[in-house]
Symmetry: C2
DNA sequence: CTGAAAGCGCTAACAT
DNA sequence: ATGTTAGCGCTTTCAG
């Protein structure tokens, strides 16, 4: 009997000890002392004792009762990708300060996994969602929307769904990168992207198309099918080999660039002499690579701030006001960080 | 009234619909139909209807009642570090298959943050912990131990605490790396590590010391104080500058190597001609760098497998049997992946 | 100002 | 074989 685990203190214990009612303790703990006209003296006495014994309310019971978990579900493409890792880290930090916890998961851009994760979050009764949606999750997101649970998408959005979202102006980002290459005298520019129809990918491609069209230059676009590493590497390798007359290449995401650098090295091509390179997203590798790689950087801090601000705002003000659910769509600018890989030597 | 959110189906609803008792439904759902001698026919009828309406039990209520959340708390140093990201990903995958969910957080090696996280997990009633402990969290871990909640540490352990842990043989790993350098004819080898007292760091250093002592070579060890990026970079930069007579250098972690490569590039030193380099942990950057960097790789898959197996085992068999709490300590081997950065040209 | 009491949705003795 | 019922720990009216 005595070796039994020491029981956690319950609200009941502290009420009994102070010889007040459970309700009083609960009210004080939830900051409703004033409106329930509980004397400051008593309130303080409660707080003091609570602190003394280190009482922590049972979250499960609290959530069951209130229907609020104070947990936000964050679904990203890949938490080990520095871009998502940084945004997630900032979101977590901000949310934490405002009393929310984040639980995150990676979809690896797999639709069925994403569906599973969203369902799992529903089961866990998260109060809100932050999602980087792969294609085909419209249905799950609709369900969330219908249940009036706050959602903010980022990096890309679902055109058919009225949700809040934060994205960057990828069209402009790529366009500027292309302009920069043209100014440096590179004229035969290729664009390597994925074969996905996600909005951010389409936008980035669009910027390339636009820049090429303006100058009446030939477009060389490679849509890589994202499967296993070897296949991707081989694919990019051949594309580069088959387009040896190109003098510059823009990759639409950081991981494609990584494969690209490997393929370029395999073919012993020199950057930027044989081929100039520009990538999306900054990364240790790009900064330290020899030569350093020019990147179209996304404003990670601003993305994180907008995401969490909008979500927390919705969490505070449940949109009861009928259809006045003003959707917030934020488009942020990218910035070109010029390094050696795109400078004519 | 009608615009109200559609209510979730409750166990009560399904019991009423089938005209059976709530208990029957609950028993069937929890696989206790057989032992409660519920007819197969009924059981199937229940299951069929549950599936039809897509009933999902309320986890919160279930957890409150059973005291089990089926959630495992994973505390790593930095989830965006490829080493931890990979291990975490594998752990998550395995746990998921066995019905457990993982919620993870990064400590950034900050003791107070780690304490906070562990406390948060306690509040959330996780069923078990997987922790990469920074220094000074002995107290929080003791609390978990005392409450008989399963814990597995990895990457490093807490010498004073009887916990399960999975680590690699860092002493041997570094020793082999040093041997390799010596065989290649490098004789003036430096070792760059952090100033932390964590077991894995001490072990790695030990391997270096041992190799140097065996040959009676001078030891040049730099203990970098991990603060902000600029400071770290500057620190490593000066160390390298002050030891220009060194012909090889071993870094005790992947992130130190990244700063190291930057510092080496700044000083326009050529690898391996001016300085051979070996790093701990594999990484895209090391594989793709020019020249490719030799690494002491950790068996990430095996680490993950051991961690989750031991934890799930404990979760299945609550160690009631008094002090028979057999501690599991697993030490795995590292493997040296030789690349150009450590080959005499 | 405070206490009693009704649940939140589910599980698992304990009855039948 | 199946139903009844007492909670898990907390919040929140509603009457004092």
């Amino acid at each position: 009997m005595n070796s039994k685990v020491k029981k956690r203190t319950l609200i009941h214990d502290i009420a009994r000890h102070l010889d007040v009612s459970i309700a009083t303790v609960s009210l004080v703990l939830n900051g409703k002392a004033k409106q329930s006209r509980i004397s400051d003296a008593l309130a303080e006495r409660v707080l003091a004792y609570v602190k003394e014994v280190g009482y922590k309310p049972n979250h499960l019971a609290k959530s069951l009762r209130t229907g609020k978990t104070h947990v936000i579900g964050l679904v990203v493409e890949d938490i080990s990708n520095p871009f998502f890792a940084t945004v997630a880290w900032m979101i977590e930090k901000q949310a934490f300060e405002r009393g929310y916890r984040i639980i995150y998961c990676s979809t690896d851009n797999d639709t069925s996994k994403a569906k599973e994760l969203i369902t799992m979050f529903q089961d866990r009764h998260v109060d809100g969602y932050i999602i980087v949606p792969p294609e085909g999750v419209e249905e799950q997101v609709s369900v969330i929307l219908r249940e009036q649970i706050p959602v903010v998408l980022f990096d890309r959005y679902l055109p058919d769904l009225p949700t809040n979202y934060i994205v960057v102006d990828g069209t402009k980002g790529t366009y500027e990168a292309a302009q920069h290459l043209l100014e440096q005298g590179f004229t035969s520019i290729a664009f390597v992207t994925t074969d996905s129809k996600q909005t951010q990918m389409e936008a980035r491609l669009q910027g390339y198309v636009q820049a090429m069209e303006e100058r009446g230059l030939q477009q060389r676009v490679k849509h890589v099918n994202i499967t296993d590493s070897e296949k991707i590497l081989a694919d990019i390798h051949s594309f580069i080999a088959e387009n040896r007359d190109c003098d510059a290449i823009i990759f639409s995401t950081n991981y494609l660039s990584i494969y690209g650098l490997e393929a370029i090295a395999q073919q012993k091509l020199r950057i930027p002499d044989d081929l100039a390179v520009i990538s999306y997203d900054d990364h240790d590798l790009f900064r330290l690579y020899t030569p350093a790689i020019t990147v179209i950087a996304q404003p990670v801090e601003s993305i994180a701030k907008n995401v969490i601000d909008i979500l927390l705002d919705q969490l505070k003000h449940p949109s009861d006001k009928e259809d006045t659910t003003a959707i917030q769509a934020v488009v942020l600018p990218t910035s070109l960080v010029v390094r050696k890989s795109s400078i004519r030597s």
